[in-house]
């Protein structure tokens, strides 16, 4: 129990205390503490990523072994990971190497296109899901439409009232007002609460009250 629980909790407490105090101390020792903590964290993370790779190979290996549906794709995934690692270690990572080309012409287009699928999902959501179900949802909807109009040249063009009476705001002005005033109030109110939540959690971790990050059991 001591080795499995008390000592880890003590480590958490001591580390939390040291780095909490570190913030208030401008001295060079404090800088040193901060730098060392970061370096140590990076090194631990390095080994942590090994764990991730083990999990990846285990998951896909299992799929192949079990002949799960679409298992050949798992072969592709494993093969590609090995190929990428191989070309990276064998031929270097400078520009115009196979490694960088695989990165630029395989990883980048796929990830970029996946990101861009969102453009389609969003229009589908706009058509099918974005409903004025209640007064509040209407507020969300109206704000969204105004901001969308205010962010493109069209918004300025269809603000006909502005041409008749230049003192009246255009869509762009209204969109900016929404972003700068009510939106900011909402974000700030939420942000204060979330900041408080983060501090609360951190404190509970340091004090050993919150332990779920250690995994439950025992």
């Amino acid at each position: 129990m001591l080795w499995k629980k008390q000592i880890p909790l003590a480590i958490t407490f001591i580390m939390g205390l040291i780095l909490g105090i570190q913030y208030f101390v401008p001295s060079s020792t404090s800088d040193w503490v901060f730098d060392e903590y970061r370096t140590w964290g990076i090194i631990i993370g390095l080994f942590g990523s090994v764990l991730a790779y083990i999990s990846f190979y285990r998951a896909h290996g299992m799929r192949i072994k079990k002949k799960a549906p679409a298992w050949p794709f798992s072969v592709v995934a494993i093969a590609m990971s090995l190929a990428m690692a191989f070309v990276g270690f064998a031929f270097g990572r400078e520009e115009n190497t196979v490694f960088m080309n695989m990165y630029t012409y395989i990883l980048v287009p796929i990830e970029g296109t996946m990101f861009s699928l969102l453009a389609f999902y969003i229009s589908s959501a706009a058509y099918r899901a974005f409903r004025a179900r209640s007064a509040q949802a209407t507020a969300l909807l109206v704000a969204a439409v105004i901001v969308m109009l205010g962010r493109v040249p069209l918004g300025e063009q269809i603000s006909f009232w502005h041409k008749l009476w230049p003192a009246l705001p255009t869509f762009t002005d209204i969109a900016n007002w929404i972003l700068n005033v009510p939106n900011m109030a909402a974000k700030r109110g939420m942000g204060l609460g979330i900041g408080l939540g983060i501090m609360m959690l951190s404190l509970k971790i340091v004090l050993g009250i919150e332990r779920s990050y250690m995994g439950s059991g025992e």
């Binding site: 969003i122 439409v145 069209l154």
Partner: protein, 279 residues
């Protein structure tokens, strides 16, 4: 059961239209404007103008850091911003440090830098310097605030830092007059926390349209001079420096896509209400 058997009304059929039709419409709205341009005027917002004015007020001895902290996934939005600001800096003859805290960053901006330098007949190492990626993220920010030359032993092309004329007179934070970071994540906060807050170097940021709303509080609190938000921000900047480039073109596509999406929302809701009234 009876509902199913009943013949579908016009609105029901319209609402239940296959989503692939929606996909096709939006795709056309975004692709066609590249071939048929309308040349809409682009109004400039204050947040963008403020950055422009700040750079306009700089003198050739001032130093601007442009940090392209993004990866390819968000480069369609952020690259045009970097392009526009870099061009403006070259035009104004201010000393420009181009860099990135992200490993993919330098590769993305290298062609842009080369092209802009060619257009303005500027020389690497004399008018601007292009730094390589260095591991460390926030550590890099902290290091370069204290000592630029110690942070980057060479430039992106491998020239030793001592041999680069432009950095001779650049030591540390006291010499920086503006930092602009372009980011799709939260690296704007890194610069804020480790460069602006402790050292007071003026800052501005270029962010994706999504995070733009999160930046407004920082502008109001005066931590940022201004902001470029998404492609529109970049297009506005292109308008200010009077060069219609990538962003302005993308903006046109953007414009039509927005119209289509707004129409989608309107039709969707009319249908929704029509169906609801029937029931």
């Amino acid at each position: 059961m009876a509902e199913d058997a009943r013949k579908k009304t016009f609105w029901e059929r319209l609402i239940q239209i296959d989503r692939r039709v929606i996909y096709l419409i939006i795709a056309l709205a975004m692709i066609l404007p590249f071939f048929f341009q309308m040349g809409l005027p682009i109004p400039v917002t204050k947040e963008v103008k403020d950055i422009y004015d700040h750079i306009e007020a700089l003198t050739p001895n001032d130093v601007v850091i442009l940090s392209a902290d993004f990866d390819p996934s968000v480069s369609p939005e952020l690259l045009p911003m970097f392009d526009a600001l870099f061009r403006h800096c070259l035009k104004k003859d201010v000393k420009t440090i181009a860099m990135s805290l992200y490993i993919q960053g330098p590769g993305l901006i290298a062609p842009i830098i080369q092209e802009a330098a060619k257009d303005y007949q500027k020389v690497n190492g004399v008018d601007y310097v292009f730094m390589p990626w260095i591991y460390g993220y926030t550590l890099v920010v902290m290091d370069m605030m204290e000592d630029l030359k110690a942070t980057f032993p060479t430039d992106y092309y491998g020239t030793r830092i001592e041999d680069i004329p432009i950095v001779k007179k650049i030591e540390n934070y006291e010499d920086y007059d503006l930092i602009v970071c372009f980011t799709g994540s939260s690296s704007y906060a890194w610069w804020l926390l480790y460069a602006h807050e402790p050292y007071g170097v003026p800052m501005a940021t270029g962010v994706t349209a999504v995070s733009a709303a999160d930046i407004y509080p920082y502008i109001q609190s005066g931590q940022y001079i201004g902001m470029l938000g998404g492609l529109k921000g970049a297009a506005e900047y292109e308008t200010l420096i009077n060069e219609k480039r990538m962003a302005t073109m993308g903006m046109e596509a953007q414009n039509w896509a927005h119209i289509v999406i707004i129409l989608f929302i309107i039709i969707g809701n009319i249908g929704y209400m029509a169906i609801a009234r029937k029931k």
